[in-house]
């Protein structure tokens, strides 16, 4: 059962004339543990959080309004700045929405390259999460290990797309450039070494008694609450819901790959941690399968420089690193979107933070926030 903290008896035994009151505590917006610019206002009773309200919007850039005046191809470099730790997923989001309203045959090789890049991006994003999560829970060393591995993925992305962080690589019709033998060589070396690295991390951190004591039975989210709050990704699966869009609402060529979906039991911080670690292993598997089964042929279909779409409306979604990344596109048949709405996973996951933190110690707040893995650029759009 979940361990919820209750007021110790000493509070009942104190003298009656001692005045007590709830204390409102402010965290952020400029706080190193808030992963960006986030303000949290916690109402505490002693050390226990009674309620918590996140204030967001410090990074609001009006991306949706901005999208309405742009052609479809211009949307991709615009939106990959939204979640800057998982740019490939952002590229694919904009691309798949546009492709859903176009009659377009995407070459199989392009789809395989996409899957490979999306999964590499998932690993890179989870590694960065591991680095910052470890930092949140008080350990500095994992940061250097995780970023060292992430650097290798960024080097590979640089070989493929020319950019290290914001790729603009996946585009309507396929991808920007074909992968090279040098890339494949580097990828082979990475796939050989990476599982060993993950083992090392697990030895270093997962079994650590201090960490487990902090993470187990903290920030528990039940299965029903998780679904009702609309959380997605590792947070939803950590709560025991086997729901992964790669399997449950498949897109691209994901049905051709074999992989498992990790699911948690308790729905606490430790479960979310373990789900992400297992996802990194599975993503490595998918990349390996994509590399081995890579078909020959074209890497991009012929698409007009400024493509037009059919009139209509569509909601496409994908399993991004942080959860369900949805995109609602309304087109009037022109070259620019009439309405372009993005459903970032971080937004709804952060909305669940109040439920997650109630009844736990204030000291647990940062580790709980770290376990839902938000990117404030993504939340604020």
């Amino acid at each position: 059962m979940a361990r919820r903290y209750t007021q110790p008896d000493v509070m009942a035994r104190r003298s009656d004339d001692l005045e007590t009151q709830e204390l409102t505590l402010n965290v952020g917006p400029q706080h190193p543990s808030t992963h960006g610019v986030l303000r949290l206002v916690a109402v505490t009773d002693g050390e226990i959080i009674k309620s918590l309200e996140p204030h967001i919007g410090f990074l609001h850039r009006g991306m949706e309004k901005n999208s309405e005046g742009r052609e479809y191809r211009q949307l991709i470099p615009l939106w990959d700045r939204n979640d800057y730790l998982a740019s490939m997923h952002m590229d694919y989001m904009a691309t798949s929405a546009v492709e859903a309203l176009m009659d377009l045959e995407v070459p199989r090789r392009a789809e395989y390259i996409r899957v490979m890049m999306l999964e590499l991006q998932r690993i890179a994003s989870h590694l960065f999460w591991f680095a910052s999560f470890a930092l949140d829970s008080g350990a500095v060393t994992p940061l250097f290990y995780a970023l060292k591995e992430r650097e290798k993925i960024m080097d590979m992305f640089e070989m493929a797309s020319g950019a290290r962080l914001l790729y603009n690589y996946i585009r309507p019709g396929g991808v920007r450039a074909d992968i090279t033998p040098a890339f494949m060589e580097k990828l082979t070396a990475f796939l050989r070494d990476f599982p060993r690295y993950l083992d090392e991390c697990e030895q270093l951190y997962t079994g650590n008694a201090i960490f487990i004591n902090r993470a187990r039975d903290v920030g528990v989210l039940t299965r029903e609450a998780a679904i009702n709050l609309g959380v997605s990704g590792p947070v939803l699966r950590g709560s025991g819901v086997a729901w992964d869009l790669r399997k449950d609402e498949p897109y691209s060529v994901y049905p051709e790959f074999k992989f498992d979906i990790p699911v948690g039991e308790r729905g606490d911080v430790l479960d979310r941690y373990e789900v992400r670690f297992y996802e990194m292993r599975m993503a490595t598997e998918i990349v390996r399968q994509a590399m081995e089964g890579m078909p020959e042929g074209e890497y991009v279909a012929k698409v007009a420089p400024s493509p037009k779409t059919k009139a209509g409306e569509v909601y496409v979604r994908q399993e991004a690193a942080r959860g369900e990344l949805g995109c609602y596109l309304v087109s009037d048949g022109g070259k620019k979107p009439w309405r372009f709405h993005v459903r970032p996973a971080s937004y709804l996951n952060l909305g669940a933070l109040d439920t997650l933190c109630r009844g736990y110690l204030f000291a647990d707040l940062i580790i709980i926030l770290g376990s839902i893995d938000i990117v404030l650029g993504d939340v604020d759009k």
Partner: protein
């Protein structure tokens, strides 16, 4: 485009339970209706075992070329693996029933729709702007709002302090030449 594993045709279910005008297209899974009818639809989607739309994954709004507003809902059933998109026409009062009593996820998403479009959700527990400051006087995703530099300092958000700063600066400038003499 996502494939939905077990998409069903809900025409029969809807004609049996929904006693008002609506349009439903099984090919696109879009249901169109007036926003005033939403409470009946919510009760059905959440309550009917055959639908069991437990996961409200997205809620947003859009403005039509003729100036009419729509609220757009996207549901999925984690239990049954089917989905539904609902497009509800917003009345001129700009007031729409809130979905928060069935789906907690609607809370922030409705706040976003209010912030961006000025659509009020009646029954929402805490309908405040979520991205912009309360002092802001416009709804940015309306087509009538042109994305251009903002003239009113109060509209920049954060505002009270900046307005005070601007006033203090103006007062100082008014004072300084006098001292110089």
């Amino acid at each position: 485009m996502n494939q939905v594993l077990d998409q069903k045709d809900f025409s029969g279910l809807f004609s049996e339970s929904l006693k008002f005008e609506y349009e439903y297209d099984p090919a696109t899974q879009i249901l169109r209706l007036d926003a005033a009818r939403l409470p009946e639809l919510f009760a059905m989607l959440a309550g009917d075992e055959r639908l069991a739309m437990d996961y409200l994954r997205d809620l947003t709004a859009k403005e039509q070329p003729e100036g009419e507003f729509h609220v757009v809902y996207n549901w999925a059933s984690i239990e049954h693996h089917h989905t539904l998109m609902v497009v509800a026409k917003v009345p001129e009062s700009m007031e729409v029933p809130s979905a928060t009593q069935y789906w907690e996820s609607a809370n922030w998403m409705e706040r976003e729709a209010w912030d961006m479009f000025g659509i009020r959700f009646s029954g929402h527990p805490d309908l405040r702007r979520i991205y912009l400051e309360e002092t802001v006087s416009f709804f940015p995703l309306r087509k009538s709002f042109k994305a251009s530099p903002v003239e009113n300092v109060g509209d920049l958000g954060g505002s009270e302090r900046e307005v005070a700063k601007a006033k203090a600066k103006a007062a100082k400038e008014a004072k300084e030449p006098a001292e110089g003499k």
